[in-house]
């Protein structure tokens, strides 16, 4: 299974991968390109990555979550390339017998992804200018 995609993230398809009759709670997180008042007129973000490590590290993160919440089904994706504002760049879905495990597992994957994945973003503004964005 690949954790990296250049295509739009299909959250419904991800939910379908992990949902099941024994999993009564599903948490789906989507992180999207923001264009808020503090961000400026961001038209898109160009995501670049150390792709081989991104795959490996995302795999380790999901495996850690799977070990902590063994009854959960967990799936995650990071989109790279140009992602327009408003579109999702990262997704984590956890489905578990009960909601606590689903919330906790999804949050663990997202927080560790933010902290550990070798991904960088370059903002592209409406006027065509760009800049690296950290964090």
């Amino acid at each position: 299974m690949g954790f990296v995609t250049r295509e739009p993230i299909d959250i419904g398809a991800l939910i379908g991968i992990v949902s099941g009759p024994g999993r009564g709670g599903t948490v789906a997180f989507l992180g999207s390109v923001r264009r808020g008042p503090e961000d400026g007129p961001v038209a898109a973000i160009e995501y670049s990555a150390y792709e081989e490590m991104l795959e490996a590290e995302f795999g380790r993160i999901v495996a850690e979550a799977q070990a902590r919440w063994p009854d959960a089904g967990i799936v995650a994706r990071h989109r790279i390339g140009q992602v327009p504002s408003g579109a999702p760049s990262i997704a984590a879905v956890a489905a578990a017998p009960h909601r606590d495990a689903a919330f906790d597992a999804a949050r663990y994957v997202v927080e560790e992804a933010k902290r550990r994945l070798p991904v960088w973003k370059r903002e592209r503004f409406d006027d065509g200018t760009t800049r690296w964005r950290e964090g």
């Binding site: 992180g31 670049s48 990555a49 150390y50 081989e52 490590m53 490996a56 590290e57 990071h78 760049s89 990262i90 997202v110 992804a113 933010k114 902290r115 550990r116 994945l117 070798p118 991904v119 960088w120 973003k121 370059r122 690296w132 964005r133 950290e134 964090g135």
Partner: protein, 91 residues
């Protein structure tokens, strides 16, 4: 007695650079020839000495060895892939 260094006295490490660091260095990859036992920190020092704009390159960047995060004191082996990572910005 041999007057050459014994085989294995040096290691070659492939150093990969990404995003802003690749722009700073003007390249995405560079081979570093280092003494055996060299650490990530020493490899960064060698890279900075080699780059025309090395002084602008951070002295203690985040690093990964063979696709895993690595501390500055990590000892490099011949053939390792060292990656120097700008501040992470995933998500």
């Amino acid at each position: 007695m041999h007057d050459r260094e014994p085989t294995g006295a040096r290691v070659t490490v492939r150093c990969r650079l990404f995003a802003r660091y690749a722009e700073l260095a003007g390249t995405e990859a560079i081979d570093l020839d280092l003494p055996t036992g060299a650490t990530v920190e020493q490899a960064v020092h060698a890279l900075r000495a080699r780059l025309a704009e090395g002084v602008r390159f951070p002295a203690s960047p985040l690093a990964a060895v063979n696709r895993q995060h690595a501390a500055p004191g990590w000892v490099l082996a011949d053939g390792d892939e060292l990656a120097l990572l700008p501040p992470l910005a995933g998500g």
